[in-house]
Each structure stands twice: as C-alpha cells, then as structure tokens.
C-alpha cells in the first residue's frame, strides 16, 4: 500500500467508515508488530505492543483530525509502548557508532584502486535479494544500537519522512539525519561482510 492509499484509508476510518475498519486494523497490526518485534526483540512483547497500540489509537481517535498525520501518530503511540517493554529487550547495545569505524578499508586516496568491499554492482534486483538475505538483513537491523535502529525502521523500512521520524522520536531533524546515516552505514557494513563471506563460499 503506497502513501496515498494509507492516507485514503486513514480518511475513511476517521470518517466513520466501518468497512475500512478491518483493513486499517490488519494493516497497522502487522506494521506495529514488525516494528516492535525489531525494537523489543521478543515476539510476545511485539504482540502486546501491537494490541495495546491499537486500543490506544481507537480510544483516542477523536483527538486526530488530519488523515495525513495518522501514520506518525500511530507509530508515536507504538514507540512509547515499546519503551515500556525495553527492560525486557535482549538487544540493548548502548554504544555510539563512529563514522571512522564504518568506513571500509582500502585505497580511498587512489581513485584507480578498489575498496576492500563486496561486488555490489552485480547483485540481483533488490526485491529478490531482500528475500534471499532476509535473515542477514534482520540480524543487521536487530543488532543496531537502539538509537539508530528506531530511525532506520521509520525512515527506510516504513519510508516515513525525516520530519515524521523526528516528531515520533522527539528528535531534531539533524539528529534523525545523523543517526540514519550511521545506521545505514552499519547495516551496509554487516551486509557487506555477509556478501563477502557468500562470495568466498
């Protein structure tokens, strides 16, 4: 479902269209479950977060007027529900990622030489590869420190705007951008390691 369809669905729900209710519940139940599974690390926590989030959404639905804001509003509720579960998270690395560590070794200063990275130019298309590498990708995302993971999930998996992610996470625009870049670089590095191992095999 693309962005416009999500907004149309939110408009129908806000307008009291009960036919849209089940589609809305299923869409967000799945989205929140997947987000919170990667945030909390436990299936049962993710089940509870998605259920609690939807209860809160419908309890407070009359506070929301603009359908365009629905997705960010729902995810903000989900993010807070995830924070309540954090004490039980198995993924809690708190360290910060430095750009230096994320820069691959190689001859950066000689434009003719290759970096020591996998051959990313000749990969199958992203849709196919995302299925093939689903496990490696999941691990790369799950192992990110939480401050980067939350931004990557909203910006790249849910394809929200920088402004929406900033609103949901109570961060400045610059903080979202900085964390997104470091998070992306860390995922790239893990996938690169995976591809190089696969190449060797």
């Amino acid at each position: 479902m693309d962005r416009q369809q999500e907004i149309d669905l939110a408009r129908a729900v806000l307008g009291g269209d009960t036919a849209a209710f089940d589609q809305f519940v299923e869409l967000y139940r799945t989205k929140i479950f997947q987000y919170s599974y990667l945030m909390c690390g436990q299936r049962e926590d993710a089940e509870e977060v998605s259920q609690d989030t939807l209860l809160k959404v419908f309890e407070n639905l009359n506070q929301l007027r603009e359908p365009e804001r629905m997705k960010a509003w729902v995810f903000r509720i989900a993010k807070n529900a995830c924070l309540m579960k954090r004490r039980r998270s198995i993924f809690a690395p708190k360290y910060e990622l430095s750009l230096e560590d994320l820069m691959p070794p190689g001859e950066w200063h000689d434009g003719e030489r290759r970096l020591e990275i996998a051959d990313w130019k000749n990969l199958p298309d992203a849709e196919y590869l995302a299925r093939e590498m689903s496990g490696a990708l999941r691990k790369a995302i799950a192992e990110l420190p939480e401050i980067y993971r939350s931004v990557v999930l909203l910006r790249d998996l849910e394809e929200m705007t920088t402004e929406e992610a900033a609103e949901i996470l109570d961060l400045s625009i610059d903080a979202v951008k900085t964390r997104l870049h470091r998070g992306r670089l860390a995922i790239r590095k893990k996938l690169d390691d995976y591809l190089r191992t696969a190449e060797r095999v």
Binding site: V25, T30, E59, L61, N62, L99, D110, A130, R184, R188
Partner: protein, 89 residues
Amino acid sequence: MESQGHDALACSEVFELLSDYLDGSLAPEDCERVRRHIHDCAPCVEFLESLRQSVSLCREYGSIERPAPLSPDVRERLMELYRRATHQE
C-alpha cells in the same frame, strides 16, 4: 581521486554526506560538490553504490514474521471503541 581546489571535498567529507546525497536532501551547492568529487573518484562511486543497494534492501525488507490472528474478543473491543470515537452508538 582527491579533487583539487579550495572548495573540493575529501573522501571522508563526502562519506559523511552520502545519505543526504542519496535522499536528495543536500543543499544544491553541497550536492554539486559531492557530484564533482564522485565524478573523479572510483572508490567513492563504488561505496555509494553499495550504500544505495543496502538502503534499497531495507526498503524491500518484508518480514516473514506475522502477528498471531486477531482474537474475536479484541476485535470486538476495538470496534466498540471505534464506534464510540466516531459517534456510531
């Protein structure tokens, strides 16, 4: 290759800007400086391609993990709240 000239960017500076470059969120003059640098720099082109592919993979990521089916009790409770919020009862 490291570009020459007083406004030229080093690889490490380009490296910091690559997500904004991919997202099209750089100011036009910074975008132009990055473009000029990578035009002549094979390692930066190669790295940019790997980052672009990695971001595409995240966008295509669809977890095979699904939530358990919604129980009829919970659905009923949600519907009740929905009807109340939209003044349908």
